[in-house]
């Protein structure tokens, strides 16, 4: 099972500013170590949902950095709304985490 994500969703006006930090090696398939080439291993699909409704459906290549960061904004959000994030990698490993929207500063 993959490591949990860190997700922070803060309300600014009626928009939730969502910052997601995932833990994933994001191997390009070209990196060499003493034992040979590290095989391709990367997140292919990322989905952000607001109260169960998909607001962003993303697809990635191996060119996204290791331990990927994703920042998105969700319109029409309120404090306490649920933001959930799901990723699926090229080995069909997946992870879903959920947070509630917090009041902004």
């Amino acid at each position: 099972m993959a490591d949990p994500m860190k997700i922070r969703a803060t309300l600014q006006g009626d928009t939730a500013d969502v910052r997601i930090l995932m833990r994933h090696p994001m191997e390009t398939g070209t990196r060499k170590t003493a034992t040979g080439v590290v095989p391709l291993h990367f997140i292919q699909s990322v989905i952000v949902q607001h109260n169960g409704r998909t607001v962003l459906d993303g697809q990635w290549s191996q060119a996204i950095s290791r331990d990927p960061f994703l920042g998105v904004r969700v319109k029409g959000a309120k404090v306490g709304d649920k933001i959930s994030v799901t990723w699926v990698d090229n080995k069909d490993d997946k992870r879903t985490d959920e947070v509630a929207v917090m009041a902004g500063a």
Binding site: L56, G71, V72
Partner: protein
């Protein structure tokens, strides 16, 4: 009642099950809502092929797309890039590092309720233009910004 209720329920149940089976077969990743990974666009090695894979043609240069990225990135393994589109009805945003071995880095479909803004971090092999391709109302808009790389981040 002309149509027997039992018969109707049986019919509805059968077609429902068929529909679910068809949907499950189409989606390889197992997430019930994700679009399949765009292999043609992501595995393209030249810009023209990448754009073809995205279905993008007739690109229009637009000043309503803002790319936020450093002018010089010391570490090509972590290049922060954010794209904001102020074009109404933005449907998707693609981020392309033109000189990477596989130029297309990410493609985001923006649904109702999502803002036309994405921010992430890319790996870049060498100094290159970072290009955003935005689809809005079926048309494709684009903008680019050069990022100089001191140490490449592909190895």
């Amino acid at each position: 009642m002309k149509y027997p209720r039992r018969k109707f329920l049986k019919f509805a149940g059968c077609t429902g099950a068929l529909f679910v089976a068809a949907a499950a077969g189409l989606l390889k990743t197992g997430t019930a809502w994700a679009a399949p990974w765009n292999k043609n666009a992501f595995e393209a090695k030249a810009m023209a092929e990448t754009l073809k894979g995205l279905g993008a043609s007739g690109l229009i240069e637009s000043k309503d797309i803002t790319i936020t990225a450093p002018d010089i990135a010391e570490n090509g393994a972590i290049v922060p890039v954010a794209v904001t589109s102020r074009i109404p009805n933005t449907q998707s945003i693609a981020i392309i590092a033109e000189k990477n071995p596989f130029p297309l880095a990410a493609s985001f479909d923006i649904m109702a309720g999502g803002d036309s803004y994405v921010s992430t971090r890319l790996k870049m092999g060498q100094t290159s233009d970072v290009r955003a391709v935005v689809k809005a109302d079926g048309k494709f808009y684009t903008a680019a910004r050069e990022v100089k790389i001191t140490v490449g981040g592909c190895g």
